[in-house]
C-alpha cells in the first residue's frame, strides 16, 4: 500500500464506498437470480478500488463518463442509492425514471454523465466535457472510465489525440480487467502494456495496481491535479480483474475456476481492510458494524425500489424532446 489518506474520516469514507459497491452488486446478483431485475446486469465486483480511489480525488462538480459496468463509478461519484436501485428495477423513482436501466444510470447533478451501453462511447463525450470546461474557464476535471477491451475502439484514438492537442482536463482511466466479454485481452490487443498507448499522443501514461486503493488514490491524484491546473490529460491504466462473469449469469467457460480463485486473493476490499487493521486505523468490530449499516442501506434501497411504481404507460413518449409532445 502506498501513502495513507490524511485523515481517518477519509479512510472510513473509502471503506464505506468500497463495501457499498460490493454489497450493492452482490445484492443485484441475488435479485437478478430471483427474476426481479429486467435486462442484463454487469457487476463491478473486484474493481471497486478503482472507482473509489479515483473519485476520492474528485469534486461534485467534476465529471465522469462511465461504461456498461457503471454502478461502481456512479456510487463512487455519489449517486443517490435509492434512485440507482430503483432505476435498475425500472421504476419511476429511478434516477432516469426507469427509462435507462442498469446500463444507462446517470446523475448529472453529481457530474455523472452516464453509464453507456456502447463501448468507449464515453471517451469522446469526456473530451467534449473537457472542452466545455476549458471554454468556460473553470477548473473542473473529467475522468473517463473505459475498459481494456474498449481501448481498441477508434473513439479512444480520436479522443486522446484531441485532448492532448487542446490540453484538456481529461484523465483517461483504463480498467484493465483482462477480459472483454468472453475474450482475453491477449487475443485482440497489440501491446501487453496498455500504457504504451499514451506516447502516441504525447500524453503521460502510467500503470497502477487497480486493486490497491491507496495506490489508485495516489496515482490518480497526480493525474487529476495536473489536469486541474491546465497540464492536460493523462492515461492511467489500472490493472485489475473482474471477479464475476461479464454479466450476471455468464457461465464463464472461457476461463478456469483456478484463475478466478487466484485473482480473488487480491480482493481490493480485503486488501484495504487488512491495511486499516494492520495500521491500527480500525478494528474488526468497527468494520463489521460499518458493513452492517451499509447492508441496511442496501436493504432500504431494495425496499424503496420494490415499493415504487413502474412509470405510467401513457408517459412513454415523455422526454424524447424538450418541447414536442405527441398529439
Amino acid at each position: 500500500m502506498a501513502a495513507d489518506f490524511k485523515d481517518m474520516e477519509t479512510n472510513w469514507e473509502a471503506y464505506r464506498k468500497l463495501f457499498l459497491i460490493r454489497a450493492f452488486e452482490e445484492r443485484l446478483e441475488t435479485l437478478f437470480a430471483e427474476g426481479k431485475i429486467p435486462g442484463f446486469v454487469h457487476t463491478y465486483i473486484g474493481q471497486e478500488a478503482i472507482a473509489v480511489g479515483v473519485c476520492a480525488n474528485l469534486r461534485t462538480d467534476d465529471y465522469i463518463t462511465s461504461t456498461h459496468r457503471g454502478h461502481g463509478h456512479a456510487i463512487a461519484k455519489g449517486i443517490d442509492l435509492n434512485g440507482l436501485m430503483a432505476e435498475v428495477f425500472g421504476k419511476v423513482t429511478g434516477i432516469c425514471k426507469g427509462r435507462g436501466g442498469s446500463m444507462h444510470v446517470a446523475d448529472f447533478s453529481k457530474g455523472i454523465l452516464g453509464a453507456n451501453g456502447i463501448v468507449a462511447a464515453g471517451t469522446v463525450i469526456a473530451a467534449g466535457a473537457g472542452l466545455s470546461i476549458q471554454t468556460r474557464q473553470e477548473d473542473q476535471v473529467v475522468v473517463c472510465f473505459f475498459g481494456d477491451g474498449g481501448i481498441n475502439k477508434g473513439t479512444v484514438h480520436e479522443a486522446m489525440n484531441f485532448c492532448s492537442v487542446k490540453n484538456l482536463p481529461v484523465v483517461f482511466v483504463c480498467e484493465n480487467n483482462q477480459y472483454a466479454q468472453f475474450t482475453s485481452r491477449k487475443l485482440t490487443t497489440s501491446v501487453s502494456d496498455l500504457s504504451l498507448r499514451g506516447a502516441a499522443y504525447g500524453m503521460p501514461a502510467v500503470s497502477m495496481d487497480g486493486n490497491d486503493l491507496l495506490e489508485v488514490v495516489e496515482v490518480s491524484q497526480k493525474a487529476i491535479a495536473d489536469a486541474r491546473v491546465g497540464m492536460g490529460p493523462t492515461l492511467v491504466v489500472a490493472d485489475t480483474y473482474r471477479f464475476g462473469g461479464h454479466y450476471v449469469g455468464d457461465p464463464q467457460a472461457y476461463r478456469s475456476k483456478e484463475e478466478v480463485a487466484q485473482s480473488r486473493r487480491r480482493d481490493p476490499l480485503l486488501l484495504f481492510e487488512n491495511h486499516l487493521i494492520l495500521q491500527g486505523l480500525a478494528d474488526k468490530e468497527a468494520l463489521e458494524l460499518e458493513r452492517e449499516s451499509i447492508l441496511e442501506l442496501v436493504d432500504k434501497a431494495v425496499a424503496f425500489a420494490e415499493q415504487s411504481e413502474y412509470p405510467e404507460v401513457r408517459s412513454v413518449i415523455d422526454y424524447v424532446f424538450t418541447d414536442v409532445t405527441e398529439k
Binding site: P38, G90, V92, G117, K153, G154, F182, Y310, P311
Partner: protein, 325 residues
C-alpha cells in the same frame, strides 16, 4: 421434420457454407465462445481460428476489413452482436461496401454478409433494442434480409453467404431461441422472394422478422374470435423487395396492415405503404395502416417497453379498425 431453434438453424447454414467453400470466414467479437445467442456454436472447433475470427472491439475494422477481404478473394461473414454497433461502422457499410461495385464500374463485387441481432428483448435498453432496417434498405447497393423463423433463417442465410453482393442479415433477438421445423441438408431460399405464410381473403398483413410471428398469432385470433381471414405476407427480404407478392395479396384482400417492430415514422413500412397506394389506387377498401413502434428510444422499464413496441394485440386492433371500414 426435426425442430431446431433459429440460432441452431443459422449455425447450420454457416457451417454448411464454410464446408462447401473454404473462402468463407466468420469474424466478430466473442464468436469463438459461441456468440451471445449461440449463433456460432461449434464453428471455432470445426473450422479453427483462421476461419472463425475473434475480433477486437473495433466495429469499423470488423466491417471495413470484411470489405477488403471480400474484394480480394474471401467471403466474409462479419457479425455484430447488436445492430446498434453498426453505427460505429456506418462508413464501412454505407460509403464503402454498398458503393464499391457501382463506383468502380463493376470491376468487383463485394460478397460479404453483415449479421446483426436486432429488436427488443426484455429490457435490453435504448442502445440494445432497436431495428435499423430502414437505414440499410434506403442505401442502394445493399441487400437486406430479415427472416422470421428457423427454416427461413437457414435458407436465407445460406443464400446470403453465397450472394455476390453485400447483404445485411438481421436476426431478431426475441425469436432467436424459438424452434421450428427446418429441412436438413443444403437448404436455400432465394433472396427477394416473399412467402405467403397464411392465406386469407379479408386483409393482408405485410410483415417480416419478429412481427411476422406476431402477425400469425394475430391472424389466428382474428380468425377464431372475429371470423376475419387475414393473409400474412412475410417479406423475408426487404431489398430486393418482392412488391409483386405484396400487390397480389392486397389486390385480392383490398386491405393492408403493415407490421414491423421498428419505429413507424420513417420506417420501412412507409415504403411498402407508398408502393401499395401508388399501384392500387382506387382499388382499396380501407386506408393502408402501419403498425410499428412509437417514436421514442426504446425504454428500459418493462411496461414502457411493452407500450412502445407492437405485438400481436396491436395487429389485431389495427385489423379490426381496418375491416370495419
Amino acid at each position: 421434420m426435426r425442430s431446431i431453434s433459429f440460432g441452431q438453424a443459422t449455425v447450420e447454414a454457416t457451417a454448411a457454407a464454410m464446408r462447401e467453400d473454404e473462402t468463407v470466414v466468420v469474424a466478430g467479437e466473442d464468436i469463438g465462445w459461441g456468440g451471445n445467442f449461440g449463433q456460432f456454436k461449434g464453428l471455432l472447433e470445426e473450422f479453427g481460428p483462421k476461419r472463425v475470427l475473434d475480433m477486437p472491439i473495433s466495429e469499423a475494422l470488423i466491417l471495413g476489413s470484411a470489405v477488403g477481404a471480400a474484394v480480394t478473394g474471401l467471403r466474409p461473414v462479419a457479425s455484430l452482436s447488436f445492430v446498434e454497433f453498426t453505427m460505429g461502422a456506418m462508413d464501412e457499410i454505407i460509403n464503402q461496401a454498398a458503393k464499391f461495385r457501382y463506383m468502380f464500374g463493376g470491376q468487383v463485387s463485394v460478397p460479404m454478409v453483415v449479421r446483426a441481432s436486432d429488436g427488443v428483448l426484455r429490457s435490453s435498453g435504448a442502445q440494445h433494442s432497436e431495428s435499423f432496417e430502414a437505414f440499410f434498405s434506403h442505401m442502394p447497393g445493399l441487400k437486406v434480409v430479415a427472416p422470421s423463423n428457423p427454416a427461413d433463417a437457414k435458407g436465407l442465410l445460406r443464400s446470403a453467404i453465397a450472394d455476390d453482393d453485400p447483404v445485411i442479415y438481421l436476426e431478431n433477438k426475441k425469436i432467436t431461441f424459438r424452434k421450428g421445423e427446418v429441412p436438413e441438408g443444403d437448404y436455400r431460399i432465394a433472396l427477394g422472394e416473399a412467402s405467403v405464410a397464411r392465406s386469407g381473403s379479408d386483409v393482408s398483413l405485410i410483415t417480416y422478422s419478429v412481427m411476422a410471428q406476431h402477425a400469425l398469432e394475430a391472424a389466428q385470433v382474428l380468425f377464431e374470435e372475429h371470423s376475419v381471414e387475414a393473409e400474412v405476407v412475410d417479406l423475408r427480404t426487404l431489398v430486393p423487395l418482392d412488391i409483386e407478392s405484396v400487390l397480389t395479396s392486397v389486390a385480392k384482400t383490398r386491405r393492408a396492415v403493415i407490421c414491423h417492430e421498428a419505429w413507424t415514422f420513417g420506417g420501412f413500412g412507409a415504403e411498402i405503404s407508398s408502393q401499395i397506394n401508388e399501384h392500387l389506387f382506387g382499388e382499396l377498401a380501407a386506408p393502408v395502416v402501419r403498425v410499428g413502434a412509437r417514436s421514442a428510444p426504446i425504454p428500459f422499464s418493462p411496461p414502457l417497453e411493452r407500450e412502445l413496441v407492437p405485438e400481436a394485440s396491436e395487429v389485431v386492433e389495427a385489423v379490426l379498425r381496418t375491416v370495419k371500414l
